[in-house]
């Protein structure tokens, strides 16, 4: 858009150095002007005149460049004079002079780029981990106390909220949990059949499938899906309520946020997850059964009789037994992280991610502990 480009000329007039600026000193040409001004050989202890008669248009960036040059010259002991400044530009120069006394902004460098910073960061993370663990433990205690209180006054349990939570975490998850378990059943049956066929032991595919699904994968897959689906929802819901100060409002109304928000979610999930696990087991077996029939030609009656022979009821119960533990982890972490939200919307997103990662991590760790303990007990 600019017609007259910005120009800068240096001339000697008797014993005075004259810098003549002309044209349009706008932000669009600031980079170019900056380079030319910086490459000037600045004299020392001389008479310097900056002539602004030819300036057609100027904005704050242009004014800053000229005033910076003036400052640089003065700092070298020169006597500087701004000449022929058009009166229309005078307020701009005053404003920039008043505001431009600041040093260029500095950008704090992330200090973990240095070795010391790196070590300090590891230390910080470790300490942070400990303090989080302590605070999470405190939250567990708070929830346990609230649960004990509810046990004495069962009338204070919010049944409607709990049933609504069970609908959201359970009924609404049926499609996704069923679909994924069905597919897992298919995958295990297919891969198992592929390997076992080499030994002519195709029929053991059913054993592999039944033990794998009932004891481990059914409950684990369900817990992971629910952690991603409902654990994140818990954090986001409670976190948003914190951003909107709804939690504060609850407290001032004499309502206990743990009782109102955490207990329905926790109790709801404790009931829902075992039921979902049974359902996931059924769907997984169904998928495996179909695959066994299609690939190995094992008929459904054969499949069922092999199933009865292969698994003791104990296998099924171990899987279902783990579900409430996983449910507790998911609900506790989800709610705890929700309460950690500060008053910024950005922290809702960060903590929701964190809540999902933490609950999946803890679910798998707990599952591993179960495996070790159960095998030590020879169950």
């Amino acid at each position: 858009m600019g017609s007259a480009a910005a120009t800068l000329k240096t001339t000697e007039d008797a014993d005075t150095l004259v810098l003549t600026a002309a044209g349009e000193w706008l932000v669009a040409s600031a980079a170019d002007l900056d380079r030319r001004l910086r490459s000037l050989e600045l004299p020392q202890r001389r008479q310097v005149t900056i002539d602004l008669a030819g300036i057609d248009r100027i904005d704050s960036a242009g004014a800053w460049l000229l005033l910076r040059t003036e400052q640089d010259l003065s700092a070298r002991g020169n006597h500087v004079e701004l000449r022929h400044l058009a009166p229309t530009f005078a307020p701009l120069f005053d404003q920039v002079r008043a505001g431009g006394a600041l040093a260029p902004v500095s950008h704090p460098r992330p200090d973990h780029h240095s070795l010391v910073g790196f070590i300090a960061r590891i230390g910080q993370i470790t300490l942070g981990l400990f303090s989080r663990a302590v605070s999470l433990l405190g939250f567990f205690g708070l929830v346990a106390l609230t649960a004990a209180r509810l046990l004495r006054h069962p009338g204070r349990l919010r049944l409607t909220a709990m049933v609504s939570q069970m609908e959201q975490t359970g009924v609404n998850a049926l499609a996704i949990v069923g679909m994924l378990s069905f597919l897992i059943g298919i995958v295990i049956a297919y891969q198992g059949a592929d390997q076992l066929r080499r030994f002519g032991a195709e029929i053991y595919t059913v054993d592999l499938l039944a033990v794998g699904i009932l004891r481990e994968l059914g409950v684990l897959m369900t817990a992971i899906i629910i952690a991603g689906r409902s654990g994140s929802a818990f954090t986001a819901e409670i976190g948003t309520m914190r951003v909107n100060q709804e939690i504060d409002a609850l407290q001032t109304l004499g309502l206990d946020p743990v009782e109102v928000l955490v207990m329905p979610r926790l109790l709801g999930l404790l009931l829902t997850l075992p039921m979902l696990t049974v359902y996931a087991n059924l769907m997984g077996l169904l998928g495996g059964c179909l695959m066994a029939w299609a690939v190995l030609g094992i008929t459904i009656p054969e499949f069922i009789s092999e199933l009865q022979y292969a698994v003791a009821p104990r296998t099924f119960w171990i899987g279902v037994f783990k579900a409430p533990f996983f449910a507790g982890i998911i609900a506790m972490i989800g709610c705890y992280e929700g309460f950690q939200v500060s008053r910024s919307a950005e922290s809702v997103g960060r903590l929701t991610t964190l809540s999902v990662v933490e609950s999946i991590f803890l679910v798998i760790v707990t599952d591993a502990i179960f495996s070790v303990v159960l095998s030590a007990l020879r169950i």
Partner: protein, 274 residues
């Protein structure tokens, strides 16, 4: 403003905005002239922010023309749109600073996007804009979450001024500020307007701001707009406009800004006690 050509730099004609069945604007016309401070007022839900969003291209109207600097923004090509965007700055209600960047980096975003500048020059310009917006030196390295509401607005203004725009759009710049901070913000806008030659398009609820800095006022009533100087508005006999300017708060604001006012039509007594 005297001495300036009376060619509008924003021209809105026949604007119709409709959301679902709710008509917000119905054939709205508006001219904004260079170098003026135009205050947009209206009741809640009268479409002040929708009007602002429509002019800056965030909302596509159902019907009507919007011209900025003589370019039809609704039909502008991408290059034309970018040329216009360089020439305006927008301050959103709560500053709308990018929360993952420091204040200085926020100011440098448009500089980086539009111009190829050395980092040092960008840092100098960022410091200059911080100073112009009345922020202390150390605010540049802070993150938006570390600033108070008033400082966030100033930082948002600094970012809006990054490219030395000709127009700034301000969406309720003094909302949520304490009266002292709001007054300072008004002074800041007035100073910047006179020194940088800005045109200011300001949506506001703040009567004090209107009386303190606005050259003209546009009132959104009946899905249209009525524009005039403050004195004209004070004489307008539309019921909403009368209620707005002659209510107890309106009279208090008038009194504060121009003590011996005769244009108001109604005698000004000590009437702020209600």
């Amino acid at each position: 403003m005297d001495g300036l050509p009376k060619e509008p730099i924003i021209r809105v004609r026949g604007l119709v905005n409709r959301f679902a069945t709710e008509t917000v604007h119905d054939g709205l016309d508006l001219d904004v002239f260079g170098g003026e401070v135009l205050g947009i007022v209206g009741g809640s839900g009268s479409g002040k922010s929708v009007l602002l969003n429509t002019i800056v291209g965030l909302n596509r109207p159902v019907k009507g023309d919007v011209e900025v600097f003589g370019t039809d923004v609704l039909a502008a090509s991408e290059t034309e749109q970018r040329e216009i965007e360089k020439r305006w700055g927008v301050l959103f209600q709560d500053g709308a600073l990018f929360s993952s960047l420091t204040v200085a980096q926020n100011i440098e975003v448009p500089l980086k996007e539009f111009y190829d500048m050395p980092q040092r020059l960008m840092d100098e310009i960022a410091a200059l804009k911080l100073g112009l917006a009345g922020l202390p030196e150390d605010a540049g390295s802070k993150f938006p979450a570390q600033l108070s509401g008033g400082m966030r607005k100033r930082a948002g203004l600094a970012r809006a001024l990054a490219l030395d725009p000709e127009i700034v759009f301000l969406d309720e710049p003094t909302a949520g500020l304490d009266p002292i901070a709001a007054g300072e913000f008004d002074d800041l806008i007035r100073d910047l307007k006179s020194s940088l030659g800005l045109t200011v398009f300001m949506v506001t609820h703040d009567l004090d701001s209107l009386f303190a800095i606005c050259d003209r006022v546009a009132v959104l009533v009946d899905k249209k707009i009525r524009v005039g100087t403050l004195d004209q508005m004070l004489r307008d006999d539309h019921p909403w406009i009368r209620a707005y300017f002659h209510g107890p708060r309106g009279r208090a604001a008038q009194q504060a800004e121009r003590p011996p006012s005769e244009e108001a039509g109604t005698p000004i007594a000590a009437s702020t006690s209600r």
